[in-house]
């Protein structure tokens, strides 16, 4: 079967925000590397896999994205080094792919989506219209889009309408 023009899948993941305390970013990185074997990513990057990943979320901030509850484990390991907050209910996650995925996203996202500028492994903190959004380029042409859950229905409506011509 041919690759579809666009495929949209809603994802359920467990999320936690990590905000390093002042001067503790190096200690946080060492703790994460020892516990999960993942080097915390620098600005505009994510690292890890489908079971657990860490995405850059701003200076000194990361988001953990996991297939199992993660916040309590992180909070225990990072006590005194970072503020950890469970965000699992706070975000609406969508995975989009397909031959026309970039044509679809370009209708609303104001950033350069060309793989030369935004390769797999990249994270972009930006907006879709007036909806703040975090984009992860998971693998070639496969993107994860995270928006605040209260805006998820509106965002899904825009995404479906924008993708309709590429089905």
């Amino acid at each position: 079967m041919d690759e579809p023009g666009i495929a949209i899948v809603t994802r359920d993941r467990f999320l936690a925000s990590i905000e390093a305390r002042r001067g503790q970013a190096g200690a946080v990185a060492a703790t994460i590397a020892a516990a999960y074997g993942i080097d915390l990513p620098s600005a505009g990057r994510w690292a890890g896999g489908a079971d657990i990943a860490f995405a850059w979320a701003g200076p000194g901030e990361w988001s953990a994205i996991a297939d199992r509850p993660i916040a309590r484990d992180l909070a225990g390991r990072l006590a005194g080094q970072a503020a950890v907050t469970d965000q699992s209910d706070g975000w609406h996650l969508t995975e989009v792919s397909g031959l026309r995925v970039r044509d679809t996203l370009a209708k609303m996202l104001p950033i350069d989506l060309d793989p030369a500028a935004l390769p797999p492994g990249a994270v972009a903190l930006t907006r879709a219209g007036h909806i703040d959004l975090r984009l992860r380029h998971l693998s070639a042409g496969v993107y994860e889009l995270a928006v605040f859950r209260s805006l998820g229905a509106d965002f899904a409506g825009w995404l479906e309408a924008s993708a309709a011509e590429f089905r």
Partner: protein
Amino acid sequence: MRLTCPHCGNRGIEEFAYGGDADRRRPDGEPFGQAWMDYVYLRRNPAGAHREWWYHASGCRAWLVVTRDTTTHVVASVQEVAR
């Protein structure tokens, strides 16, 4: 207008929020009077170089100091505020 965020790269102005003149100084210690009136109400409106706060609201949420020419919109520098 576009700004080059030190964390996120070159982005459109719609991602940023303007925070005003970066060279205003709060007259702490002064009794209420002309210094406070000037601080609260008076704004310079220079034709030329201007240092101003910008907040990367839809990006990394860093506060930046942008030096910009108000007559040409040429951005001379973008620096993150020391954390």
